[in-house]
Every structure is written in C-alpha cells, then in structure tokens.
Amino acid sequence: MGAIGYLYRRILANRIKMALRRPVTYFYIVVFLIYMFAVPMSLKVLAEEYRLDAPDGMAAVLTLFAFWVIPANLIAYARRKGLIFRNSDIHFLFPSPTGPKQILLFAHLKSLVAQSMVLLFVVCCGGTICGVPAWKLAVYFFFSLVVENVLEGSIMMLLYGSERLDEKRRGLVIRGAYALVGILAAIGIYTYFQTGLSFQSVVGFLHSDLVQMVPVIGWYISVIHLLFIGPTVVNVTGTVLYFLLTAELVMAAVRMKCTGAYYEDAIKFAEDYEEVLASRRQGNTEKRLGKKQKFGKASVVWRGKGARALFYRQLLEYKKSKYFIFDLNTAVALIAGIGLAWLYVEEGGFEAEIFTNFVIPGLSAYLILIFTAVNGKWAKELKSPYTYMIPDTPFRKLMQATAMQHVQNLINGLLITVPGAVVMGMTPMRAALCVIFYMALAANKLYALAVAEAVVGGTLGTVGKQMFQLFLQSFVILLAFLGAVTGNLAGGTDLAYLMMDVFLVLATAIFMVLAALNFYRMETT
C-alpha cells in the first residue's frame, strides 16, 4: 500500500491545508458544529413524541437506514458503480504497477473522512437523543468504521473487481438484492396484517426477529440490536453469522483473481463523472450520471442581430431538449400548486385568513429559496467566451440571455398560482400579482447570482457564493414582507399585494442594474 498510502495521505493533507487557507472553511466549521448541536436538540422533541428517545429507538432508526443502504450498495457495486474514479486515477494509477485490488480499496477509502463525519453525527444523536451509554457508542463507532467497512470493502471487491462474474451473473446479484428488499417488504406486509398500521406497529416490524433472519441485511440489524437492546437468541445468531460472513468474504476477496478488467467501466464512469461535474459548474442541472443527454432535431428562424443571437441560440437548445423549457422548477411548481389546492379542499379551507391570503407568495418564496443552487442558463452564458465576444452592449446581452428564463418563470408562476387561486376563489388581480411575485423573485435569484459573483465569487468559492446569493434573496424577501405589512396596515390585502410586488420589483431592478454593471466589468477587465 506504499504508493497508494502516499497518494491518500498527500491528497488529504493538501486538501486540509488548502481548506484552512480559505476563510470560508472556518465559517463552515462553525455551521457544522452548530448543526451537530442543534439538529440532535431539535430531533429530541420529535423522538420523544414518537417514543424513539431510548436505545431501542436508535436501533429502529439504524435498521431503517440499513433497509435502504445495504441493497443500494450491493446494486451499485454489481453495476460497477458506486466508486468514484477521477481522470487523474486513470492517467497515473491504472497503468502503474499497483494491484487492481489496491486501486479498488483506494477508491473505497476515498469516502472514509465523510463516513467518519456522518458516524460522528449519528453517535452525537445516539448520546443526546437516545441516551445510549458512551461505551456502546464507542463500540458502534468502531464497528461501523472498521468491521462494516471491511465487509463492504470485500463485497465491493468481489462484485466490482471480479472477472469471473460476467454481466449476466452480476445481473443475478442485482436481482438478489431486490429479492432481499422483497423479503423485507413481505415481512412488513405480514406485520401489517397481524397488527394493523400504526407507528408502533412499524417500530415493532423494525425490531422483529423475522427481519433479523434475512441474510446479510438482517444479520447487520442483529448486530445493531445486540449492541443497543441486548442479547436474544436471534440477534446473537445473526451477529455470529454476520462475523462469519465477513471472514468468509474477506478470504474470498483476497483469493479472487483481479487483473483490472474493471478499468474499462471505471474509465466510462470517470469520464461521465467529470462531465457532470463540469456541467454542474456551468449551471446545467439536466445532466445525470450514467445518462447521456439526448437532443432532438429542431430549427429556429433567426431574427435580429447582436445579442439577439443569444436568445435564438437558447431557443434552439430548448427546442432540441427533451423537456423544452420545462425543468425541475416546473415540476416543483406544478406539484406545489396542485398540492396546495388539494390541501385547501381537503382541509375545507385554512383557518387563519392571513394565511389563506398569503400562502401562495409564501410557498413561492420558500421554493425559490430552496432551489437557489439551480441557476439555469445565465450562469452557463457567463462561462462562455462567445457571450463576451458578441458585439453588443452588456445590458442587451443580459436581457436577451435571460429573456427565455423569464418566460419559464411566468409558466412556473402560473402553475404554482392558478390551482390554489381557483379553489380559494382569489380575484384575478391578486392571482396576477402572485404570478408577478413569483416572476420577480425568480428573476431576482438570477441577478442575485451575478451580484454574489461580483462580491464574493473570487474569495468564497461556489458554496460560499450560493450562501451569499441566499442571503441576498432572504433580504429581498424581507423587503417584500415589509411592503406587504405596510400595505396591509394602510389599505388591506389588495394594497399589501401591490406594495409587496412593488418592493420586490424595485429590488430586482436594482439587482438587474448591478448584474449588468458586473457583466460590463467582466467584459472590460
């Protein structure tokens, strides 16, 4: 492991060194520590309400995670996925005389630091919420970090690295993993017929002996139950089987022949992964890992010149795209609009009048804030050299490059507003103001990105920039809120809507000018 160990140590040490040089790291550390403290505290109330505030509660939650994580990992490894290889690994590591199994271990251990953080968080929750004794948490930490990793590493090696398992056999493993999930589901259905559906019956299912008898997943659950609840015949047997399985698989992984036939699949993954990363950096969220983006045939009639070309190029791209101008935001707006209307009808109206009056703008603001990171085409335009080379004014470029996005926002605004407006009997005027609110706030997000880029882009990195963008938007929402309060006090709900939109549109106009100035600065410096 000499060279691999060196590579792992140096990458980790240099990353830490680089991170410590950036001021934003200290901010993240503080946020992380606050989360480590605040999340367990807030979950404590929930855990008490559902009687999960004891060690058996921790066992139940970890059991639930095991249902999801173990089959998902088995399927990923059988598909030769689930390990992150980069192009640099392909360049330097794959052709080197490093054993292909060692390379697999290296890829597996890349997530060790992140795993340790998650485990630390789980241990904190276990101690503060479920009152698990410290020694048990220490054993759990060691078990998860060492034993579980050894077993998972062996399974990974046997599935990912095996040269005897062809595509067909790997398919059988995938079916086996689904079968395990099927068995667990069957036990769940059986429990439902026995005890009915209630929160306690679900917890009972998670603790049931039958679940602990299911191979692999159940044996892991046995270990958890033995540790947090105490010994039973079933969980002791399951634990023994778990350790025997670990020993057997480790030996099988050591004996297995592996000459690097998996490299070809790893290369495909690495190329795909780098492409997705690069495209995310440019604000394209459509690209998915393992799925090639498909484009249809389309054409546009090009009109106008200069920056207008940006508009038509985007239109052409949208027409070639599978979902035209509709994306994640459209789906979210549609679901939220219909969901809100359904809830209103189901509940027979909302109790508080003020809530009914402002629920749509409130929901719009919340969703736009949540999806701050989804930046659309303007972020992409900023990365393209052609945007700067087009002989036109920065303001016209900004307008033309974002025009289509405003159309998109109009559609999303209508989708989120119309269903609720219809069932609530909203006046057309208020509904229109709701749509304008959505459009203005979405446009604000677009321009806030440019302002964030100008202010902190060079110092805080991508995440820091997004957080600053979030801060700007929160500030603008606060302004709109103040407008609504002022309007409501002065002349009622209609004026509140009007003032809210006026404040928001004014703030957005200021941001737009700032974005255009920043773009001008980027062009000229």
Binding site: L7, I11, N14, S88, I90, F92, P97, Y263
Partner: protein
C-alpha cells in the same frame, strides 16, 4: 520489445480493432498513423491495459496486464489529467513509489530542469496549464526509466522548446535500447524520429513500413496513399487555404 497480436476490440456492435498485430523491437521508434476514428486510441488504451480486449499484448515478453509488464512500461496519454491536490513534485514522488524505482534527488532535478519545471515543482495539479501538465506527464513517464514507452500525441500543447527537448529525449531513449511507440497526427514532428510506421484505418493495420525499406519517400505521401485520401480530397478539404495562396 512491444508485441501486439490479433488485438480485437468491440464496443457493442462497432469493431474498433480488428485483429491488429505489430511489433516494435528494442531500441526502435514505431509510429502509429491513421485518420480520426481509425482505432488508434483503442489500440493505445489496450496496450496501456485500460480496456478489455481479445488477443495478446506483450511488453518485454510479459502479458501487458501483469505487474511485471507495468513495471517496465510508461504511458503518456493524449490528455494529461493531474491530481488537483498533488504538487508536481508529489506526482513524481508518487510515481517513484508506485513503480518502486530508485531515483536520486539529482535525477529528479535534472528532469525538471530539462522540461523547465524546476520553478513549478510546488504548484498543485489544478494550477497548471495544459502544456505544463503534459510536461509533468512526460517527466513522470521518464522517471521510471521504462523499457517500453507509449506516447499518445505527445507534442500537443507543448511549446517549441519542449518539443525540441522531447525529440532529443526520444532519441536518447532509443539509443538506450528503449522501445518507443508514438501515436500522432503531426507527421512533421516525427519525421526525423521514426524507424517503423504502422498505418491504420477502420480498425485494421493497412501496412507496416520501415524507414530502410521506404528510402526517400515522404511519410505524409505514404500516409495519404495508403489510407486512400487522394490529393484531390485534400484540396477539397483546404479550399480557403488554397484560395488565399497559403
């Protein structure tokens, strides 16, 4: 010596390499030529052990997938990719450890100086230009003192001084008895280097030509005559250049 025998590789229904076979003896420089899509990359990646294939590839008599073969084999890919968080020096240190070679401080310094990297050794991978990355990639390949070296479009991205340096290095490697295989489109760049040329198209080797047998014939003319790209076609490809008398 590098021996490629009956190398066949399919991507789904596409036959990218169809029974490719050639040999580059010790101390000789082989050139792999072919138009885009000829299958050169497939052959190169197969030799580097990055693809599954049918047939046999032997490096100094060892199966190319074996660790023995990899120990004496160096590969310079067309696109260099660095570890973002490793410095130039750390890349070299990693390679030295991975290949288990004994290298002195002076040898490393000499190599870095040769490619004008001595002031860049503490730069991280993500701080380097493409040309710099290519130089690091070449240094990492040379530091292991390979018996067989495979260079895929090695001149792309290099400045004229580095190209000159690389040519000299390749000739020195040849003199030392190293087997060299270069895949390139830049025929001008390898004119004075080559000993044997393999012309590929549509996944097959169309012809193998030694410098001795070819005599005075130009490599470029040979390439166009073997691949069937006539002078007329070439004219059609360069109308603008012709019109302007370039």
């Amino acid at each position: 010596m590098l021996e490629v025998m009956e190398l066949t590789k399919r991507y789904g229904k596409t036959l990218a390499a169809d029974g490719v076979g050639f040999t580059v003896p010790d101390g000789r420089i082989g050139i792999l030529l072919g138009p885009n899509g000829a299958g050169k990359s497939t052959v190169i990646k197969s030799i580097a052990g990055l693809l599954r294939y049918k047939g046999s590839i032997r490096i100094q008599g060892h199966d190319s997938r074996s660790l023995e073969a990899k120990r004496c084999f160096a590969y310079v890919p067309e696109m260099p990719y660095m570890y973002d968080a490793l410095t130039v020096r750390e890349h070299m240190e990693f390679i030295v450890r991975a290949y288990g070679v004994e290298v002195t401080e002076d040898e490393i310094r000499e190599l870095l100086e040769q490619f004008e990297l001595e002031d860049k050794q503490d730069k991280l991978g993500n701080e380097l230009s493409k040309g710099m990355m290519q130089k690091v990639s070449i240094c990492c390949a040379l530091i292991i003192r390979p018996s067989v070296i495979l260079l895929d479009e090695p001149m792309v991205g290099l400045d004229p001084a580095a190209i000159k340096e690389l040519k000299e290095v390749i000739l020195k490697l040849k003199a030392r008895g190293t087997t060299v295989l270069i895949s390139t489109h830049m025929l001008e760049m390898v004119k004075e280097l080559w000993d044997v040329t393999f012309v590929m198209d549509k996944g097959r080797i169309l012809g193998t030509y030694t410098r001795e047998a070819l005599g005075e014939e130009d490599l470029e003319e040979l390439f166009f005559s073997v691949t069937g790209q006539s002078g007329k076609n070439r004219e059609a490809e360069m109308p603008v250049a012709r019109q302007k008398g370039v």
